[in-house]
């Protein structure tokens, strides 16, 4: 569904993303992991149209996204959430979600009903008429998800929706994300919480220093020595292996 082909981006002399190619097949949950500063968010920003790649192609269902503004990309059925939540602080929770819902209707009544349904779906149980400013971190993450979902995307880009949540909150949001996938929305996510990545994704790409260093199903990737080294430092894989009793 989504194809990224040999995309690169540098800021000044710094290569943030170099020559990355990946693919997100329809109906799957695909994750992008990597240590801090690996270029994950930069890659996301390019896919969503917030940054323009220096080179490479980005295709959504065969249509090129390079050079399109984010709102155009949203119209094509792909929407992102932000790692640092960006609520419309002074608007109510309902009004926040309605902005997404207005993507499909210009009727405020319908948008409001849709917003309520979406809020239920992502498990927001608080009063929707409270200002978004009052939400907790977990609530804001859910709101990001709800607003994005309200645009009825085909492909959802989630940028660390679990960062800063406690284990039970992570568990809840995992359930939510699975149910979104089961409803037919393809999901591409950046995540730091490994437990989440392992149990959630069908396929994983690992980015380090702007380059893809591994790809595969989560189990495979986690035992890949390159990945272990990227996370734990040079030589870590060897030391780990050495410590294991020889069979």
């Amino acid at each position: 569904m989504l194809k990224v082909e040999q995309v690169s981006k540098s800021f000044g002399g710094l290569k943030a993303v170099s020559d990355v190619s990946l693919e997100v097949p329809e109906g799957k949950i695909v994750s992008l992991i990597g240590p801090n500063g690996a270029g994950k968010t930069t890659l996301f920003a390019m896919v969503a149209g917030f940054l323009k790649p220096n080179s490479g192609k980005i295709l959504l269902q065969g249509e090129s996204l390079v050079g399109l503004k984010p709102h155009k990309i949203c119209e094509l059925g792909m929407v992102r959430t932000f790692q640092i939540t960006q609520p419309f602080a002074k608007l109510s929770i309902r009004e926040n979600i309605m902005v997404g819902a207005y993507h499909h209707t210009d009727n405020p009544q319908k948008a409001s009903e849709h917003a309520e349904a979406i809020a239920q779906r992502v498990g927001m149980r608080m009063s929707l008429d409270a200002p978004a400013d009052d939400l907790t971190v977990a609530g804001r993450k859910r709101l990001e998800l709800a607003r994005a979902l309200a645009t009825q995307p085909k492909l959802l880009l989630l940028d660390e929706v679990m960062a800063g949540l406690n284990p039970s909150e992570v568990e809840e949001i995992l359930t939510t994300i699975r149910s979104i996938r089961d409803a037919g929305v393809t999901i591409f996510l950046i995540e730091h919480v490994m437990q989440a990545v392992m149990s959630l994704s069908d396929y994983t790409y690992v980015l380090n220093n702007g380059e893809l260093i591994a790809a595969g199903v989560p189990r495979e990737v986690a035992s890949n020595p390159h990945v272990v080294e990227a996370y734990l430092g040079h030589g870590a894989a060897e030391r780990l292996n050495a410590r294991e009793p020889h069979a």
Binding site: T81, F82, A89, G100, Y102, H103, P108, A130, A148
Partner: protein, 319 residues
Amino acid sequence: MTAHHPRLLLAGVLILVLLPWVVGSEFLISFAIIVLYSATLGQSWNILGGYAGQFSFGSVLFFGTGAYTSSILHVTYGINPWIGLVAGILMGMLVGAFVGFLSFRFGLRGSYFALITLAFAEAFRIISNSVEFTQAGMGIYIPLDQHPLNFQFEGRTGFYYVILVFFVISVAIALRLERTRFGSRLMAVRENEDAAEALGVDTFGHKMKAIMISGGIGAAGGTFYAQYYLYIDPYIAYGVDKSVEMLLVSIIGGMGTVLGPFIGSLVLHTINEISRHYIDTPGLSLIVYGVILVLIIGFLPDGLIGLFKRKPKGDDAQG
């Protein structure tokens, strides 16, 4: 959110319609004219600044453009001022589109946008002060010819009803913003442009529409001014005072609310009249404005209208 009571609003409009019959005093009618006129200009600023979040420091651009358009068409080309009014509104929208395109295209936000609008207003003032077209610093006198078809009235009442119509239209536009998709999206742009863009809002297009609506309303106010006072010069048309008044009434009354500009205008002009009546020092009203602005921003960031809003119940809100 405000103005959820259409009946209350309707009653308010009815009172304003009947006002000239109830109040006989010329003084009070001209006071009401000033309040409504200033509220209309404030609404022009409010739609761009309060709803779309683009703080303009040069909204007088629209006012002056409307005033000059109708006056030049009338005096130089002999075109009826009512047609001039329409032409002025179109020109106001055009100037809005011009300034908006240049600023929004290049992503100017916040104080940069404020400064560029101020710079444009000053540029327009200097240009209109030096070209023949606007009769330069001499200003334009509009010949007295009192006839409703000529956008001039014998008493104040005629002017009162004209500005009342302008005012009601400007309020109706703000009210629409509170209830439509366009308005919701505009407020989303105000709150967080990136998030709005990500959710499929054409932020550039929405800001352009907002500045054009603002331009149209401001220009209507400008034509009204020219016809009411029958004189316009570069300082009146493009001076910074009016820009400040436009944003002041909105901020004092309550930005991003339907009735904020009206409440701000009412309070500001009441204080102005009182201070002019009792104290004979010129310029004092400016000091009073400044003090009020500081007090409002310090204690009532939502403006005076914040006083009327129901406060959310602190303890009950948490489930």
